[in-house]
C-alpha cells in the first residue's frame, strides 16, 4: 500500500494499528481494504422472490425464504426497495405494507375457513389472570368512547335530516 502513496510526504508516519476504536469487538486485519473481493460462500438458489437492498450488488449467499412478498403489500414492498436504506421512502412504505399485510392476513384466514380467535391471539388470558382491573378498565373506557362517538355521529346525521 505504501507504494501507492509515495508521492505524499509523511504518509502514514503516525498510523498506529493499536489505535482501533472498535477493538475488542473487532480484530483488525486489514481485510476491509479488500472490499468485497473475498471468496464468497456458495450461492443459495433464489426459489422465491427475495427483495434486495439496492446498496448491495447481489443477494447475500444465504437468505431467509419466509413469507415472500405478495398482494398489495407486496407491491408496496417492491416499490420501497427501489429506494436506498437511508431514505424514509424506503422504510415508511414498508411500515404501511406491514399494516396492509395484517388485513391481507385476516382475509386469507377467512378465505381458508379459519376464524381468528382474537382473545387467544392477543394473549388476553394473561391480562385477565394477572391484571384484571386494568384490563377490564380499558375495555370499559373503550366501550364508553365508542358509545360516545357513535352517539355523536347519529345525532349529527339526524340534525342534517331536519
Amino acid at each position: 500500500m505504501e507504494d501507492n502513496f509515495r508521492h505524499i510526504k509523511g504518509w502514514g508516519v503516525d498510523a498506529d494499528p493499536r489505535n482501533e476504536p472498535t477493538y475488542p469487538m473487532k480484530h483488525y486485519t486489514g481485510d476491509d481494504h479488500q472490499r468485497l473481493n473475498y471468496e464468497r460462500p456458495a450461492q443459495q438458489p433464489a426459489d422465491v422472490e427475495i427483495l434486495k437492498s439496492n446498496e448491495r450488488p447481489s443477494l447475500s449467499a444465504v437468505f431467509g425464504t419466509s413469507t415472500p412478498p405478495s398482494g398489495l403489500s407486496g407491491i408496496i414492498r417492491r416499490k420501497a426497495f427501489s429506494q436506498s436504506e437511508g431514505r424514509l421512502g424506503h422504510w415508511m412504505p414498508l411500515i404501511l405494507a406491514d399494516r396492509m399485510n395484517v388485513i391481507e392476513g385476516l382475509i386469507d384466514d377467512v378465505r381458508n375457513g379459519y376464524l381468528p380467535n382474537f382473545f387467544v391471539e392477543k394473549g388476553w388470558k394473561a391480562e385477565v389472570r394477572y391484571n384484571p382491573v386494568r384490563f377490564f378498565g380499558k375495555i370499559v373506557v373503550a366501550a364508553l368512547v365508542t358509545t360516545a362517538v357513535v352517539t355523536l355521529m347519529v345525532r349529527k346525521k339526524r340534525r342534517r335530516h331536519i
Binding site: P21, T22, P24, M25, K26, H27, T29, D31, D32, R35, L36, Y38, E39, R40, P41, A42, Q44, D47, I50, L51, K52, S53, E55, R56, L59, S60, A61, V62, F63, G64, T65, S66, T67, P69, S73, F81, E85, W91, L94, I95, A97, D98, R99, N101, V102, E104, G105, P116, N117, F118, V120, E121, K122, G123, W124, A126, E127, R129, Y130, N131
Partner: protein, 380 residues
C-alpha cells in the same frame, strides 16, 4: 410443525400447520428446538415497530436444539449434537466475520446492509423464520452453532445465545476501567446482565435505572448494584450528576432501546406516531449523564430510520459512542468459562417456562410485564 405465527401488532398464534424447514444450502442444518426464549427485542416486532415484519413469519433468535439434519458441506456438526445457536447468522469468510464482527456479516442478509442476518427478526434482518418453533433452519451451521458443553444446564445454554453476550458486550464496549462508575439504563434481561458483567471489568460502582420496581429489586440482588426508579427521582440526569459529585458517570450503557419510557415527546413521536425510530429517551439520558470524554455503550435496539438524539452534547462533551449487535461467537468461549466458574448464573433470570402452544399468552405476560416476568422460555 408447531410454530409461532405473527398475525399483526400484539397478535400472534401457535400454528400447527407451518411446513417443516428444509436444507436450502449445503452449509445449512435443521435443528429440533429444545428451548427458545422471547427476547426484549422480539417485543419490538410484536408491537409492530420494525419495518418489513410480515404476517406469517415465525420469530425467535434465542434457542438451543438438537441437530437432525445437515447439508453436504457441514463438517463439524452431526445429527444428535445438542447445540446453542447464536442469534447472528454469520458466514465466517466475509471481511466483517474475519475480523470477528459476526453480528455484521455481509453474506446473510440481502434486504439490508446495515444489519447482518438474524433468526426470526423480520425481513429487515434477512427474512429467516426463527426458533419459536419445533424445527428451524440454521444457515452456516459450521460457523455459528456451538455444541453445549457436557454438564451445562440447557437453561444456561439458551441464555448464551443472546442475552448474556449482549449484556457482556455492553460492558466490554463501555471500556470500563477499575473503579469506574457505570450507569445502566434498563433493568430488562440485557440490563441485568450488563450490570452483572460490569463488575467483571472492575467497575467501582454500578447503578441501574428503570421504572419497573420488581425488576429493580431483582437486579439489586442479582447484580449487587444500586438501583433507582426514574419515576421517583425527578430528572434522572440531574440525579445522576448529583450522585457522581456533579462530574457525570464514567460510562453509561443504554440497554433499553426504542421502547423507552420517561419522555412524553419521545414516546408520542417515536412509539405512537412512528415519526422516529422509537423513543430515544434512554440514549439521551446516557449522553447527558456521562462525564465529558466518557463512553456511551449502546446495545438497546433502534429502528433503521432515525431518532431525536442530543448529538450536539456528544460533540461538545467529547463522548465516544460505541455500539453493535453482540458478536456472540467471539464471546462464547469466554462466557462459557465464566458460567462454568460460577461468575455468572444466567438461568437465574428465567421466571417463566411456557409451552410453545401458549405462545400468545407468553408474549402478553412478557410484553405487559405481568406476574413479575423477567425472562420467558418457550418449550416446544
Amino acid at each position: 410443525m408447531l410454530a409461532m405465527n405473527y398475525r399483526g401488532p400484539y397478535r400472534i398464534r401457535a400454528d400447527r400447520n407451518k411446513p417443516d424447514p428444509e436444507i436450502l444450502h449445503p452449509r445449512d442444518a435443521i435443528v429440533r428446538v429444545t428451548r427458545s426464549c422471547i427476547c426484549g427485542s422480539d417485543l419490538h416486532l410484536y408491537h409492530g415497530l420494525v419495518p418489513d415484519t410480515r404476517v406469517g413469519m415465525t420469530f425467535g433468535h434465542e434457542f438451543t436444539g438438537v441437530v437432525v439434519d445437515v447439508g453436504s458441506e457441514v463438517q463439524n456438526l452431526k445429527p444428535g449434537d445438542h447445540v446453542l445457536v447464536p442469534f447472528n447468522i454469520a458466514c465466517g469468510s466475509c471481511p466483517f466475520c474475519k475480523q470477528e464482527l459476526y453480528g455484521n456479516c455481509h453474506e446473510s442478509n440481502p434486504e439490508a446492509t446495515a444489519v447482518g442476518g438474524i433468526f426470526g427478526y423480520s425481513h429487515t434482518a434477512g427474512g429467516y423464520d426463527g426458533g419459536q418453533a419445533e424445527y428451524v433452519r440454521v444457515p452456516y451451521a459450521d460457523i455459528g452453532p456451538f455444541k453445549i458443553p457436557e454438564g451445562m444446564d440447557p437453561d444456561d445454554a439458551v441464555l448464551l445465545t443472546d442475552v448474556l453476550p449482549t449484556g457482556y458486550q455492553a460492558a466490554e464496549m463501555a471500556g470500563i476501567k477499575k473503579g469506574d462508575t457505570v450507569v445502566i439504563f434498563g433493568a430488562g434481561p440485557v440490563g441485568i446482565m450488563a450490570a452483572k458483567c460490569s463488575w467483571l471489568f472492575g467497575a467501582g460502582r454500578v447503578i441501574v435505572i428503570d421504572h419497573v420496581e420488581y425488576r429493580l429489586d431483582f437486579v439489586r440482588q442479582y447484580a449487587q448494584c444500586e438501583v433507582y426508579n426514574f419515576k421517583s427521582i425527578g430528572d434522572p440526569v440531574l440525579f445522576l450528576k448529583k450522585a457522581t459529585d456533579f462530574y457525570g458517570a464514567d460510562v453509561c450503557i443504554d440497554a433499553v432501546g426504542c421502547e423507552a419510557e420517561g419522555s412524553a415527546i419521545q414516546t408520542v413521536s417515536g412509539r405512537r406516531m412512528l415519526l422516529q425510530s422509537g423513543a430515544a429517551t434512554a440514549l439521551n439520558w446516557a449522553i447527558n449523564s456521562v462525564k465529558k470524554g466518557g463512553i456511551v455503550s449502546v446495545v438497546g435496539v433502534y429502528g433503521p430510520t432515525g431518532n431525536l438524539v442530543a448529538i450536539g452534547n456528544v460533540v461538545n462533551k467529547g463522548i465516544t459512542i460505541r455500539a453493535n449487535q453482540a458478536s456472540v461467537k467471539r464471546l462464547l468461549p469466554k462466557l462459557i468459562e465464566h458460567v462454568q466458574n460460577g461468575f455468572i448464573d444466567p438461568k437465574a433470570i428465567i421466571t417463566h417456562k411456557i409451552p410453545l402452544e401458549e405462545v400468545a399468552y407468553a408474549y402478553r405476560i412478557f410484553s405487559s410485564k405481568l406476574d413479575n416476568c423477567i425472562k420467558t422460555v418457550l418449550v416446544p
